[in-house]
Point group: C2
Chain length 190, copies 2
DNA sequence: GTCTATAAAAAGATAGAC
DNA sequence: GTCTATCTTTTTATAGAC
């Protein structure tokens, strides 16, 4: 059990690692970068993550999973009105993506050489995300198969929109993607 | 003029570099990797690309630009029927993306630390791509503003579909994205 | 134009003191 | 739990022979 410091502190450290992996990718984030970002020496990082970067990526994806579970999936399955759930979810995405200007940790790491455990968690996060949107689409009146496709395609559009912004600075696709989700609450079926 | 070998050979070398940058990203592709992939010693690579990886990435993106220009943009603006143009373009994407199983060089490098010249070329390639799809949408009967959005959003979906496949192995979004383009030829306006 | 050899820098990882 | 110091390996880059 190499963890024995305040969970709050640990979470804050993982949060800094999160930003580094998100912004620089797995290969692009060096130990020196991660050390500086956390204000911890390299040895301290190894104390908390004995298996090095690989374990740090796992922790970061675990935090991402917690976020998606609580701020996206749980909200989608809550008992609030469809409109209210969608608004909260769009807001959550806007926060984590800075209105479409940030990179996405999931998209970034999905093409990188992360370990098998991290990759498994990555898949779980994506599934939680898609399941949430599928549920919203279902509640808007779509039949199951179509709702599932909607969920997959909406995830797809978000990921692509992040790349679009990175490549050209154009945030239009991101905005339209969020607007499309909001329309689910207004149309009998989209 | 550090280039003085058969243009065909050079093109083949850049093609191998293309695959390495596409599959491993800019940071992830090491000189050792690139050397092995091209069957050229590191010194030989520096002979052809004196500024190292940065210049290699520029060459690779230049080749990508040529491809998008000739196999996508020129085709979109040709005098063939809309249906025929769309089929050729979908086929071209299927070849370069292996039916949605390959990574995309553009998406990959757009988040990496490439140099300013390479980034400029990257933007140009994306613009050629979007312009091509916009032109097809226009020809299908869409008004200009909507057609441009269609082009941007279609690029977005393709990029996202590549990430979806990388993250989960699901090629559905890629297939649906290609199918959506094909539908442009069948509907009076989509 | 390509190679072997080598240098210089950076990255990942560990030892051991405090 | 954190640090400084150190070590190993990898990566980038160059020199110089062929």
């Amino acid at each position: 059990m190499p963890a024995a410091l305040d969970p709050k502190e640990k979470q804050a450290i993982v949060g800094r690692l999160f930003e580094m992996f998100r912004d620089h990718g797995y290969e692009g984030a060096t130990l020196a970068d991660l050390s500086k970002a956390t204000s911890l020496g390299k040895s301290s990082l190894y104390h908390h993550f004995p298996r090095g970067k690989e374990q740090m990526a796992e922790a970061v994806l675990g935090q991402g999973k917690n976020f998606v579970k609580s701020a996206i999936n749980d909200v989608a399955h809550s008992s609030e009105s469809l409109k209210s759930r969608i608004r909260k979810i769009v807001d959550a995405f806007d926060v984590i993506y800075g209105g479409g200007q940030n990179y996405c940790l999931l998209g970034r790491l999905s093409c990188d050489g992360i370990g098998d455990d991290a990759r498994g968690t990555l898949r779980e996060v994506v599934e939680l995300w898609i399941d949430a949107i599928t549920h919203l689409a279902r509640d808007s009146g779509m039949p199951q198969v179509r709702a599932r496709q909607y969920g997959e395609d909406w995830f797809t559009r978000v990921q692509g929109a992040i790349i679009m912004h990175a490549a050209t600075g154009n945030a239009g696709p991101y905005k339209r993607t969020m607007a499309a989700l909001a329309r689910l609450a207004k149309e009998p079926s989209a």
